[in-house]
Symmetry: C2
Subunit: 153 residues, 2 copies
DNA sequence: GCTGAAACGTTTACTTG
DNA sequence: CAAGTAAACGTTTCAGC
């Protein structure tokens, strides 16, 4: 399930990740090609799913979402029913930006972006009232040192 | 530093986060307004930095980046010089997608996206050879349950 | 601050080298 | 497989309300 992507494709992806609002002509000249081949490659990568959504990056602070928590979760439940309920809860909560099931002692990690500690506690209370959780550790971010959506292509 | 954003602005942001390649007409009709006011609001939000870069979301699996690690770091060093070196190292490494300085016992958390465990180890060895680190725990993601760049506006 | 329309630029598809 | 081209479409600006 690993798409064939050549060197020119990678250059195009780098440009799109840096700024997807560039015109085809700009991208073409930066990657050393011309409009038509660049356009065809982008279309193909969209079709194969290498390129997904085009989106816009917002500033959380300017929108009053000043608190970012990483939440480490251990649970004693490992049944399918419990897991489904847990996943549904996470997917339904827009403040959960990321959720991963982990290998090892800690079962899940969440990234939660909220207005303040109070808003995090509201989320936390809602979560533990919906699903049984054994142990939760919340790590509060003091400073976002680096933040990128750009994969190393 | 908290921008004034009204209800119509929030609707526009929701649309842009969902799909920034929509035309102004599409966005305008979805949010119940028309082209010009939507365009003026988008421009203002770009100027004030509420809206940042337009980008494209790539599929890490399709690009062969199949391993995602969350790295918990404790250090005994808290001098400015050490910290600068550490930050520079992280910023220079494209596999580090996210890095936060934390409150509490754990000093830093990183999100690292690489091809495989071997590539993670290369990163880890490079990191500890460049800066003194007291304790590192790597959490390997088995499954990405949720992943969004969309903030809850 | 909105509407509508006109000017301008970009995308897309197709034809040709 | 690339370049050129032209029609379709989208964006941006501006005058009038």
């Amino acid at each position: 399930m690993n798409a064939r992507v050549d060197d020119l494709d990678r250059k195009i992806l780098t440009e799109l990740q840096a700024d997807a609002s560039q015109t085809l002509d700009e991208i073409a000249s930066k990657v050393g090609s011309s409009k038509t081949p660049v356009w065809n490659r982008i279309r193909k990568m969209r079709e194969t799913g290498v390129i997904g959504a085009t989106t816009v990056i917002l500033d959380p602070d300017k929108l009053g979402l000043e608190a970012c928590f990483f939440v480490l979760i251990r649970t004693s439940e490992h049944e399918a029913e419990w897991q489904n309920k847990f996943l549904e809860t996470l997917r339904a909560r827009p403040e959960v930006l990321e959720a991963h099931r982990l290998a090892g002692e800690i079962d899940y990690i969440l990234k939660v972006q909220v207005a303040n500690a109070r808003a995090y506690d509201d989320f936390y209370q809602a979560l533990i009232s919906e699903v049984r959780i054994f142990n939760v550790t919340a790590l509060l971010s003091m400073e976002r040192i680096k933040h990128t959506t750009a994969l190393p292509v």
